[in-house]
Symmetry: C2
């Protein structure tokens, strides 16, 4: 399979094609993964998440530049919400990343959120494996928004960066708090804005509560400041990423997280596959009954799984 070999040689076109196949559920994608898998497990997967408006794209941009300055090759998987007529708006947002597009040491790829039901995590993880096999040292996964999807996605990372921003209301802080558990590095971006000290204090408080609730945790998440659109903060963030990587290597956490990620991938694939098959075998008439509301979902499941 030439594409697997090309991909392992770091050829961009081969990587792009493999990711498209995997996104589309084309069986050739699975074949590629099987061939490249023994060559993966080396890339450092870094998740970046936070509320809309926190400046995640700009922050990703300066982190990429700093990693490049340290001679690391960087892949970026940007998660875009899917909409037939707004794709352009999102892509426009990526224009800021344009300065990296001529750099062969950087590869940027967008993944749509269409498909759902665990599909986002699965596609993202597949893309990370491909970039890993292509020899990128770091793979950054940048999400939009903050929701369960984002939590699932960042749970797949070795290191997760949670981005906050001054001046958002209590509700936002609460939403952010929901993913606080997942983060290893915290960054308050747009730190030149009014309201920065209050936001900083909120994060400090949350991190303090987290420490108290986990006395055995050996990694203490740093709280950093950034002004991404002025290029400020990248050095400290990349230092923290390197420190967390060293911590993971020492504790055995790096291989452990990689393994758990593969495990989650199997479960996601299994859910997709089995549901598709059960419906294909016996489901159509049962589903029609449910759609007509003549049969309740729980009774339908018993029929579909032969436990009626």
């Amino acid at each position: 399979m030439g594409i697997a070999a090309d991909l392992l040689d770091g050829k961009i076109g081969a990587g792009a094609r493999a990711i498209t196949w995997l996104d589309d559920g084309d069986p050739r994608g699975a074949e590629v993964i099987k061939r490249i898998f023994p060559h993966t497990g080396r890339a450092h997967v870094i998740g970046i998440t936070g509320p809309p408006g926190a400046g995640k794209s700009t922050l990703t941009d300066i982190i990429v530049a700093e990693l490049r300055a340290r001679e690391q090759r960087v892949g970026v998987v940007a998660i875009d919400p899917s909409s037939p007529f707004t794709g352009g708006a999102i892509l426009g947002d990526r224009v800021r990343m344009a300065r990296h597009t001529l750099d062969p040491g950087v590869f940027i790829r967008s993944i749509g959120t269409r498909g759902s039901a665990g599909g986002l995590s699965r596609s993202t993880h597949d893309a990370c494996l491909v970039l890993d096999a292509m020899g990128f040292d770091a793979v950054i996964v940048e999400t939009v928004g903050v929701g369960q999807d984002e939590i699932d996605v960042v749970n797949l990372a070795h290191t997760t960066i949670i981005v906050g921003v001054p001046g958002l209301g209590d509700e936002v802080q609460a939403v952010k708090a929901g993913i606080l558990e997942a983060g290893e590095i915290f960054v308050v971006n747009k730190a030149d804005r009014e309201g920065y000290p209050a936001t900083q204090r909120q994060f400090e408080l949350m991190l303090h509560l987290r420490e108290q609730s986990r006395p055995d945790e050996t990694w203490r998440p740093p709280l950093l400041r950034a002004v991404a659109n002025a290029g400020e903060g990248a050095v400290e963030i990349v230092d923290a990423i390197a420190a967390h990587r060293a911590h993971l290597d020492e504790s055995g956490g790096f291989a452990q997280r990689s393994g758990l990620r593969e495990r989650e991938q199997v479960l996601a694939l299994l859910r997709e596959r089995l549901a598709r098959e059960a419906i294909a075998h016996a489901g159509d008439s049962i589903l029609a009954e449910v759609e007509a509301r003549k049969l309740d979902p729980y009774s339908a499941i018993e029929k579909l799984t032969g436990q009626g």
Copy 2:
């Protein structure tokens, strides 16, 4: 089964217990659904979504008050992100709804996002069925944030309200645009804020694009303004909800959406159930191999589903 009868009598305690069982995957929950299902299909399910900070809770509060003024009984399913130490912050946000807690015509229930993998949609839909059976005329599903989860959840509604707010950046508008397809009513909240005209124009443009891309659509989504914390806008929103309900009744869309929701529920249940069973039967050693990265996920799936 006394609890099903109590629930159909509208007893709050019975409803709360059934929802807890369903959340926990307790088999008694499924038994309750089977019994009450023939008595459901009447409640108007209304989804409310939008970015963090858009004031969705306050807006929900004034919509509930207006529906009550029109003598409708209202259930609210509030989706809260789950975090062991921030539950309080979120609940605090619900304090605004406190004025309704002594009103027997209102029942508010929070659903956690823990569990994931389609579990949020499933739990939310189960809760809607329970509130429907209890005789609530309207069931409002209020989400946090904007992500695929939110899209899944609002896709379950008969009528979806998308809430925007002035002064958020382009990224937020883009995120909002991702769920624009799902909405039937658009509200710009906090319309007394600076930046309202620009946000209003953005929404108008997006709605115009949507109309052009769907020439056959018979419902034209209204764009409304609200200042929820001053109580402004509720009358117009509830009028629009009623107008959309009338449109659904005329077009047959009400029953159709209810049916599709049940269908989605079956697929979600099926994915959960089958994956659990496949792992229970044959999965442990295979999963261990995957976790040790000795086996790739796609080969693991072939072994688990007997297609190796």
